[in-house]
Symmetry: C2
Subunit: 361 residues, 2 copies
């Protein structure tokens, strides 16, 4: 039985998306049990509205929460003033061993802060990061992180992201030794800023399969399995990609709607265009992992519909089924032990002696 | 007569691209005179090979250069050891008033450094920036800068980019008061780093039409006319966009090549698909402006073919025809005079007294 806690109140559409998605997910996965965190009356009303069957209800459990983190709540408000929020209750299910993973479509900053506060970070990780698999032209996926949790990163943080991303890809079994690229700029005046240059040195000295610098186009080229960058760059790239894909979709539609002939051509080509649309449907790539925490935490896009939210639940399911957490913890410990001691800016400002790594070995 | 100097040796393909592009550009623009900077014998050979007519030759002038900046030459090598490079000779034509604009498809870092060294920056501008117009879903264009000239920027630099980008858009006549957005990240933990936060304050205090923060997707949504960011972020976004567009193109092709039926559907839809392909053809958007210099300087993509290089020449032509340089100089002076005095980190580490702006008013 795989148990997933859902922040039912999160996201732009809250219960109207999370409840239908939860019911349909239960249908598809007989081995799943869902813990629905949120305002009990509202959840009950939605379940009744969606005509949840007795069989479905048996695999659903409402976990009451009295507060809701709004999409525009500041992190401090979400963390300190809403101690009984559906978000926090969902994360607490994982902490207390009642759920194997938790999922929210709510405010990213709040979800990151709350899940970090409730679950704590893994040994050897200063800062959690947001990772996502993006499709590439080889037909595979490129995992990119960080996508917005950390705007100012040190070289050491980038190394930790590389370790976590590498652990993610090896855990889900696609590669024994995933290749890692450091996102940088190309032929321009100065190749990268100081942090990136230092990170390259740390990566070269690590036991990771470091490919070297990669550029923006390598994300979709599939040059490497994992690409690391700071959260500012990652977030901008992710959103620019969403925007570009949307624009190109609009342009294709416009061309086919130009006149009667083009409409007819479009009608003929519909099966192919639908296949293409399905293949690049961003909803199928919904679901980002908050890595570096002592638990499986998934973030859904805030604007997700029920279909998209189902993919975020699928991410949680796959992570649990592949034993991601145990594997990641182990990989982080191994790789952290294998790399040279480096100062950790956040938890320990002084350089750590190599012996301090003993407990990871 | 519009006079454009071309670095004929630059780019991945050198003369085999620049010479055919130059000849075809001459055909399309009877009011153009081209100055071909490069190794004279090789240029002559290419002109003969391309069967340049006597009429064409009348509007072409070979300007001898004895050296070539290679695509992988370091900036220092290009600048200090190759003082008679085709790049430098091309820029010198503008400096000496013999050409109105110069174009190169060579090494971006070298082209930036050389054109800056030869032409110098405008008053009030510390650092030149690379700007490019990207298509947006409103059917318009969004100018984004910097795209890689400056990886570490201060808030003051971002303000200068905004002034230059704004001047560019108003100069080419599309908007009287172009709206300016500051590229930032959205709902995430910390909204932007310190530099971006400070830049927002400077922009708000300026006389520019500052829209506020924008996110990656706004580039293609057309939310604002100008988007500013540091060169690291801009370069990664530009290249990621190129990569994504390429991947989507490959995916569409693959879907139509799946079997005989889909091939037939593709054949029927060919006119529409070709229109779409033409509309999003990145070669049509080739040509980036190096802004902030005392001359019109255009950078072509290194991998440009003759068709794409023709668009970079067109950029140079349009810039000269619209009086871009005079208008930009004036706009920079006006806007610089209108904003509060701020310390300029590079040319003058101490805060400048407001009176120092007197000569811009």
């Amino acid at each position: 039985m795989i148990r997933i806690a859902i922040d039912c109140m999160g996201g732009d559409f809250g219960l109207s998306v999370t409840i239908p998605a939860a019911l349909s997910f239960c249908e598809r996965h007989p081995d799943v049990r869902l813990l629905l965190a949120g305002l009990p009356d509202q959840i009950e009303a939605r379940l009744a509205q969606a005509r949840a069957t007795a069989a479905q209800r048996e695999r659903l459990q409402i976990v009451p929460a009295s507060e809701v983190v709004e999409m525009d709540d500041k992190v401090e408000v979400a963390l300190r003033r809403k101690k009984d929020s559906s978000m926090r209750v969902a994360a607490a299910q994982v902490r207390d061993g009642l759920a194997d993973a938790c999922v929210s479509a709510g405010n990213t900053g709040a979800w990151m802060a709350i899940s970090r506060y409730v679950l704590k970070t893994l040994d050897g990780i200063d800062r959690p990061a947001i990772a996502k698999a993006m499709p590439n032209q080889n037909g595979g996926m490129t995992v990119i992180l960080d996508l917005g949790a950390n705007v100012d990163c040190t070289a050491e943080h980038l190394l930790q992201f590389a370790i976590m991303g590498s652990a993610l890809v090896s855990a889900v079994g696609r590669r024994a030794r995933p290749s890692v690229g450091l996102l940088n700029i190309g032929e321009e005046v100065i190749k990268g800023n100081d942090v990136v240059k230092q990170a390259a040195e740390l990566l070269r000295a690590s036991t990771l399969n470091f490919h070297g610098n990669v550029e923006g186009n390598d994300i979709f080229k599939g040059t490497v399995d994992v690409i690391v960058c700071d959260g500012f760059v990652g977030n901008v790239v992710l959103k620019a990609s969403e925007g570009l894909a949307k624009m190109l979709g609009i342009f294709i539609k416009e061309e086919f709607k130009r006149n009667l002939f083009t409409l007819l051509m479009g009608a003929v080509a519909t099966p192919v265009l639908n296949r293409f649309r399905h293949r690049v449907d961003p909803r199928r790539y919904n679901g980002a992992s908050l890595l570096g925490l002592r638990g499986v935490v998934i973030k859904s896009h805030g604007a997700a519909d029920a279909y998209a939210f189902g993919w975020a639940l699928q991410d949680a399911y796959d992570a649990v089924a592949s034993g991601l957490l145990a594997r990641t913890t182990q990989a982080v410990a191994q790789l952290t032990a294998g790399r040279p001691a480096a100062p950790s800016s956040e938890t320990d400002p002084a350089p750590r002696p190599a012996a301090a790594h003993g407990d990871f070995a």
